[in-house]
Symmetry: C2
Subunit: 205 residues, 2 copies
């Protein structure tokens, strides 16, 4: 039974090893990406409640001790898996505000479709049941994305546009709603074109 | 372990009883509302995976046999609980399209806050894990609400408004996103006023 409490790091690391090095460039057989991807896949397949670290280890071909050394709790593992899954969403900012907004939205929508549509329900449920996980995911993954979205929207609409508050979150919220609530497959190009048309209409002329 | 398979109706109903009568007006001590409310509460507290029919029976002060006679599966019970929770959302249509749209949105947002914010994550996870439940909830609860929203929006914006497609779902999607993803408490009045301002701006003059 998961207790929701943080397990202490067990100190099983081999003598002389420094776990921080695992965070840097991988050694020859760094299983980190495989482990995080296995965790994301399993979160989508079985949900957070039924996700077992042993199953993640098995799927990634890694030892259970290796996982527990690095991620003492399921929360810690899932938080890293979500971070890993959303890496690359903060696409570099260029000169054209509308193009930047479009690129960010495209990256978001693409992540929410496909595997995202499978992962999100389990993640949303986990955010509700595990407040510590929710805080980490909101601070580390969601807040930077939302900040970037707001910055891009401000450049398109003007920082004092009265609709800024209503439009921020609209695209990710709609992509989420249509995917997980309505069960639709969102077609990125069409959806994005319509949303950008709407935003452009609300921009000052 | 839940298998996700539909349990057959067990045929435990008392001889001569007709289950359809239970669907009509309640007899003296009809526990149906209490059972459905207990199921909704528990869905919010423990999520779909850990929801046990025995716990619903205990909380509602009803017998397990009574529940199984009426709801042979957890899916069936949760589908009815969600229907019950969202009853009354289809507020009567009046003469003023904007007032009708506002009343519908207000009802939706109110249901998504409070207990709704607790129930939705578990429900979303259940929609993903239980396709049969998803189909029933989408057809019976979500589709009629969305149809009404689209009808109300069409009256405000005109049936050929190019933004109709982008605006439908916006209010419930944002309320959901801010509640379950961002973990915010949505203030109905302020949120609704801003969204209706935005919609009014896109209406033909």
């Amino acid at each position: 039974m998961p207790t929701g409490r943080r397990r202490p790091v067990t100190g099983e690391a081999a003598p002389g090893s420094d776990q921080r090095h695992v965070m840097g460039r991988p050694r020859a057989a760094d299983r980190t990406p495989a482990i995080l991807e296995a965790a994301t896949d399993l979160l989508g397949e079985v949900g957070y409640d039924r996700l077992r670290i042993q199953d993640v280890a098995d799927r990634a071909g890694a030892g259970l001790a290796t996982l527990y050394r690095r991620w003492p709790t399921k929360q810690a593992l899932v938080a890293d898996a979500i971070s890993h899954y959303t890496e690359g969403l903060l696409v570099p900012v260029q000169d054209d505000p509308m193009a930047d907004l479009s690129a960010l939205y495209r990256a978001m929508i693409d992540k929410m479709g496909g595997k995202g549509g499978e992962v999100l329900p389990g993640l949303i449920s986990a955010l509700r049941m595990e407040p510590e996980l929710a805080e980490v995911v909101r601070n580390r993954v969601i807040a930077p994305l939302r900040e970037r979205e707001l910055a891009n929207l401000s450049r398109v609409l003007g920082a004092d546009n009265p609709f800024l508050d209503s439009l921020v979150d609209c695209v990710p919220a709609l992509a989420l709603f249509r995917t997980v609530v309505l069960g639709e497959v969102v077609t990125t190009d069409e959806f994005l074109r319509k949303m950008l048309d709407l935003i452009a209409t609300l921009a000052p002329v």
